[in-house]
Amino acid sequence: MSKSVDETVFDFFAVLLQEPSTEVPVAAENELDSKKAEVESVSFKKQHGKTINKASLKSTQDVTNVSAKSPQVESKKVHTEVNKEFAEPQVDKAALSKLLSAVSKPSIKQHEHKVDELTAGENPPEPVKTQQQVQQEIKSKAQQVRQQLGQVIVEKESNEKSETLSSVDNKESEFSADISLDKAETSFSETDGEHDSRVAQQSAIPPSITGNLQDVLDDEFQVLFFNVAGLTLAVPLVSLGGIVKIEHINHLIGRPDWFLGVQTRREQKVNVVDSCRWVMPEKYTKELADGIDYQYLVMLEDTDWGLACESLVNAVRIDKSHVNWREKPGKRPWLAGVVKEQMCGILNVQALIEMLDAGLGCQDSID
């Protein structure tokens, strides 16, 4: 990736800043520096009545540190040296500050403004001060600005983090709609899974929708994987009411499209759900429907609901941590999360039952 404009300019000035240190002896450098600082402070005080010159410079230094997150090692080295140099600047700080402020406009201006605010209430400085007093004042101001800069940087970082998280949420909410036949889309959910785990780490209190399921499950629990139109789904065995072979399904009029009908089983009626149509109605086409050959019903707990499936894959024991649990019910409360290894959705059977009882589709929310 190419460097940003800021980084390039900072690198350039870093090189500029390096040069005097190799040429000027330390003692002479200190002397020169103190004199320069005095002159600058006095001249600045004359202009603005404020002594924030060094503070501004420090601000730019901090900004430099923040901005210099380039992966290039050389650049980092340069910045480390620059930091040392900034502790005792030897160049025309006002000029440099001016130059850098053009590059890092927002933050510098912001902090200058903050410094203005801070100093606004103060009385104008006395016209004559000793060199030590001036230096002391500069240091204290610089300290204040550094603190403010630190706060702003933290804010910026937290903003960036929250932006990332919100984008993760968006992606995550889009995920389950796209659990589909496409393998490519499955790979998408892999990325999603990573985001999910990050989200899970961030949020302290999971919403009850998946929290309840997680409470019910042991740390290690068994799930049954089954296939529906090329899509693999997992159901925790604790929520599995049984497996029924599909024999004859009686169609009932006036029911939703996803309601395949009723099959009798031991004097009881099983409500058969067209899983493909319910889980991914947006992908459901006549061609897809023609290719589906439902063989079994995955019974949900002790209810009359059975999810039609084409084949049963296997039952495996997995750890809770092997699932990226969804933290927000969102549009699909029936989807508890994603089993990382198999990259398939795991059902929140309780929520699913609620939705089916209410005649809701997969994207409706439980209110």
Binding site: N250, L252, I253, G254, R255, T264, E267, K269, G359
Partner: protein
């Protein structure tokens, strides 16, 4: 479930009435209608279309001098249309004090059902046709869907077909 209902019925002191149902086929499903509402079953005869009639009305037939309106049951139940064949029948029924005919794929038999053998249909869906089903019964591992003929048409529709 059935046992518990029986126990409840006995406990309530109610008589477990036996009802007779005429069964017919529509789209490979078996439906039942109360035998008391069935007047007769006719082979398919020519149905005269009525201009301006609602979509669910196939037309009229002349039944021994009386004009009887024939309802398209498939259309009413939201099923796909099918060709009429030799097994097609027109069942003449009486509902809401009116005599109408319903076209079905075939008529099967008359079955006897105890009231206790009738279960509620799954309460899913809000489509209009859902209200036609008054219950279901499991007979020989086959589901019999019991139709409430009085709800086959709404009050307005019942009134409308009298004007045809």
């Amino acid at each position: 479930m059935t046992d518990s209902r029986n126990v409840a019925a006995v406990a309530a002191g109610k008589e477990d009435v036996v009802l007779q149902w005429v069964t017919f086929k529509l789209d490979n499903e078996t439906y039942g209608i109360n035998v008391m509402q069935v007047q007769e079953v006719l082979r398919y005869t020519e149905i005269a279309p009525v201009p301006g009639a609602p979509l669910y009305v196939l037309g009229i037939i002349n039944l021994r001098g009386n004009v009887v309106t024939v309802i398209d049951t498939r259309s009413r139940f939201g099923l796909d249309a099918a060709e009429v064949d030799d097994s097609s029948r027109i069942v003449i029924i009486e509902a809401e004090k009116q005599v109408i005919g319903i076209l079905v794929d075939s008529v099967a038999e008359v079955v006897y059902l105890r009231r206790s053998e009738i279960d509620n249909a799954p309460n899913v869906g809000t489509e209009e046709s859902a209200k036609f089903i008054q219950g279901v019964s499991n007979r020989d591992n086959e589901l019999l869907i019991l139709v409430d003929l009085d709800k086959l048409l709404s009050d307005d529709e019942w009134a409308e077909i009298t004007q045809l």
